[in-house]
């Protein structure tokens, strides 16, 4: 017995030493994806865009010479599998740089674990709205916007359509949402605006996976709302549009969030979805952008494309591309402080994400002109930008149909503050000091 313990101990010691030897030479990005399950149609293009950008980064010479490596892990949109993927990948290859779960449920679970492991979480366009407040949520980065921003911008657009906020009084708005934290996030903001402007808000939840919507749309038919907000994901979106066709609800009165406005949601319905509007999280479908041309040339033409060629430039593909771009740029920014050409740890990358300053010049140089607007984060603001616009499906493609909007800071900032304070009180976390912000 003693001999085997000695042997085990020796083996442990050797492996520990060799682990120290295996110093990180490359920047490791774990990629949590869902390529199977009810949400696969939307998860696949995002994952392909993300990985393609990482490949492009290597083709461009890495992050100031540091090569990028990645590993995909299938979560199937399930929280416990997401947690298992996180545990498996967080220490691999010298340590994970950043996690992007693409699921609000997994985000909630990882928000508890990431601070202890010192790995930042980017939740670009989803996650907890209150994690904008970086003084409480040190490790969460809801870059480019949250659901409160999304709901606010849709309402701004509707108000503009009607001719002013006061014209919304008495109008009926139905919020059809996926019955999960994702779908419920915007409700506080919708209710705030309802109090302010006096429109009628009806909440209609749809149980996962969202294929059973007949009763919901019967209610819509009875209600005869002026507008329907669609907060779905995966199959729920195309089913909603099909049910709208089947009950004769005009699609141009439907407004989806930026996760309900992509090709997989409307392709099937084709002409039937004509007129359906959705939020575009800064970018829409951008087949003619410089970055897409570069990806096609440097990745797909070399036979390295992750997904099919005709997917490049579609809405969710671009979403994945921009998410990866933000991840890489944060590391680049961190290198400016901690050493150019060196591999960044999670903690150093976190500083990079907190001090992102991507102006239009830099974005254009990266190939994102016309695709992204400037984004700049700070200690108090982990969101960085709140721009969005509307795009509409014309039966064949998405076209931009509105100006740029920004969410109303005056309304949202106090809500974020209150929610973040509530979280801090519950978890007994101290608000960060300005001195801590400098470190």
């Amino acid at each position: 017995m003693k001999l085997t313990t000695l042997a085990f101990g020796a083996a442990l010691a050797v492996s520990a030493v060799s682990a120290a030897w295996a110093q990180a030479k490359e920047q490791f990005f774990p990629v949590l994806v869902y390529r199977t399950g009810a949400y696969a149609p939307n998860g696949v293009p995002f994952a392909n865009g993300y990985v393609d950008y990482l490949k492009l980064t290597n083709a461009r010479g890495g992050i100031n010479g540091v090569k990028v490596i990645w590993e995909e892990c299938e979560t199937g949109y399930a929280t416990d599998r997401g947690v298992e993927c996180y545990e498996r990948l967080k220490g691999k290859n010298g340590g994970a740089t950043v996690f992007q779960p693409l699921s609000t449920g997994i985000t909630f679970a990882l928000t508890e674990k990431a601070p202890a492991d010192k790995i930042p979480l980017i939740t670009a366009g989803y996650g907890r709205s209150e994690s904008t407040d970086g003084m409480v949520f040190k490790w969460n980065f809801p870059l480019t916007g949250t659901y409160w921003d999304a709901a606010d911008i849709i309402l701004q657009h509707l108000a503009k359509k009607e001719g002013g906020w006061d014209k919304l009084r008495g109008k009926k708005i139905a919020h059809i949402f996926h019955d999960s934290p994702y779908g419920k996030e915007p409700i506080p903001l919708l209710q705030e605006r309802q109090k302010m402007h006096g429109f009628e808000l009806t909440l209609i939840p749809v149980t996962h996976p969202g294929v059973e919507q007949k009763a919901a749309w019967l209610q819509v038919r009875q209600l005869r709302p002026d507008y329907v907000l669609l907060w779905g994901w995966g199959v729920m979106n195309s089913t909603a549009l099909k049910e709208a066709v089947a009950t004769g609800f005009p699609r141009d009165k439907m407004y989806g969030v930026w996760w309900a406005g992509a090709e997989p949601d409307v392709k099937d319905v084709g002409d039937g979805a004509r007129g359906y509007n959705a939020l575009a999280l800064q970018h829409g479908a951008e087949p003619n952008s410089a970055i897409v041309k570069e990806v096609l040339a440097k990745v797909h033409d070399k036979g390295q494309g992750t997904g099919p060629r005709d997917e490049v430039g579609q809405v969710l593909y671009m979403r994945g591309l921009t998410a990866a771009m933000l991840a890489v740029e944060g590391v680049k920014r961190a290198q400016e402080r901690f050493g150019k050409g060196k591999v960044m740890t999670g903690e150093q990358a976190r500083w990079g994400y907190e001090n992102l300053a991507l102006d239009q010049k830099k974005l254009d140089a990266l190939g994102f002109s016309g695709v992204m607007r400037p984004i700049s984060t700070s200690c108090a603001d982990h969101r960085g930008a709140t721009w969005a616009r509307m795009h509409t499906w014309d039966g064949k493609k998405w076209n931009f149909t509105s100006d740029w909007y920004q969410s109303d800071e005056a309304l949202i900032k106090p809500m974020i503050r209150a929610a973040a304070d509530k979280y801090a009180a519950e978890k007994k976390i101290e608000r960060r000091t300005p001195a801590d912000c400098q470190s």
Binding site: L12, T36, D80, G105, A109, K113
Partner: protein, 358 residues
């Protein structure tokens, strides 16, 4: 030769009624427990703890609870996920709303609430049997799914419906490293396994088995079906509720109702079928199998592919996992319908004769 009880004479009723009457068994279990408590923490790394050992222990506990209901009492239940959810949310509410509530007490009381709900949804079993009961318990599953999404009070009025717990401690000892969490789950699992083992050997356990084998005949000889069935539901739901609370508190940290969906119920049912119905040991075997297999396949398939020179995409790996999982279940059911526990006891029987052939 080694596994014989020669010379082991029992001189009192107590020693005759031991759980492990054979000394070799006692030694074996003692070694296993010592290994689990002392050696595993030294050998396992953080990933092993967080992703394999802790889920294994918690799900083994839940499988134990389900085994009491399905394996010992014969009532098929597909609502186990719901009972886990009740345990988790009840423990959460007690922990968060009452200042200074000790974590362990919150977990146990969560189990008690789950037992109450279990009895409520167990009442149909007095009238409905077999497959019909299985589908009736699905009512519990879906109702609880809905209740925890809709009724805000359960989630402490959180806007998103997601809840989280932190600051676990036992008798003043903070539990925040994986090592400590593992020991906590191990302790609770061992205690409940011992309690369950003794419970099924007692008269209530015999009543359950009589109901399972022939419920009409059992009623004829004087066993009260109401009492037996409802106590089975109560005990089973208590254990399942405690497991659910542990799953939320210790393993996930933050969860929403989807963590306890129907997939979880099916997963637990698989565990007890593969592990062996009507066997305490079998719950642990089944849980180990079901927890380790997907992770093993996830790692092994790309490695195998690399050997042959083929890169397998994550989607293909996930789909192949499904296929192999399904095929293995069918294989096990064909080869040994009584589960791994039966293989284990066949092994022990062969060991009794070893090295002789008969």
């Amino acid at each position: 030769m080694l596994y014989r009880e020669n010379g082991q004479f029992k001189t009192s009723y107590t020693s005759d009624l031991q759980v492990f009457p054979i000394a070799q068994d006692r030694i074996g279990i003692a070694l296993l427990l010592a290994f689990a408590v002392f050696a595993v923490p030294l050998l396992a790394d953080e990933y092993m703890f967080r992703a394999i050992l802790i889920p294994f222990l918690i799900l083994a506990l839940a499988a134990l609870g389900l085994n009491i209901l399905v394996g010992y009492c014969g009532q098929i239940s597909l609502g186990t996920g719901a009972f886990m959810a009740v345990g988790a949310y009840a423990a959460y509410n007690l922990f968060v709303r009452i200042d200074g509530m000790p974590m362990l007490l919150a977990i146990l009381l969560g189990g008690a609430f789950s037992a109450a709900v279990g009895v409520l949804f167990g009442i149909p079993s007095l009238r409905i049997k077999g497959l019909y009961l299985a589908v009736a318990t699905l009512a519990a599953q879906f109702f609880c799914d809905w209740a925890f999404l809709r009724i805000k009070w359960f989630t402490n009025d959180s806007a998103s419906g997601s809840v989280s717990v932190s600051g676990l401690s036992l008798l003043g000892w903070k539990i925040d490293t994986p090592h400590e969490k593992y020991l906590l789950c191990l302790g609770i699992a061992i205690v409940f396994a011992m309690l369950a083992k003794n419970l099924v050997r007692s008269h209530i356990g015999r009543e359950w088995m009589a109901i399972r084998d022939m419920d009409v005949a059992a009623a004829v000889i004087g066993i009260r079906p109401v009492y037996a069935k409802l106590t089975a539901f109560a005990v089973s739901s208590f254990i399942v509720g405690v497991a659910g609370a542990l799953w939320g508190f210790v393993h996930l940290g933050a969860w929403e109702p989807a963590a306890f969906s129907i997939d979880r119920s099916f997963q637990l049912l698989f565990m007890i079928i593969i592990g062996g119905l009507g066997s305490i040991m079998g719950s642990f075997f089944g849980a180990a199998f079901i927890v380790v297999l997907p992770i093993f396949l996830n790692q092994a398939l790309p490695a195998l592919g690399a050997l042959v020179g083929v890169t397998i995409s994550t989607a293909a790996v996930a789909h192949t996992e499904f296929m192999i999982f399904g095929a293995l279940i069918v294989f096990f059911l064909i080869v040994e319908p009584h589960g791994l526990a039966r293989l284990w006891s066949i092994g022990k029987e062969k060991l009794r004769l070893w090295p002789f052939p008969h």
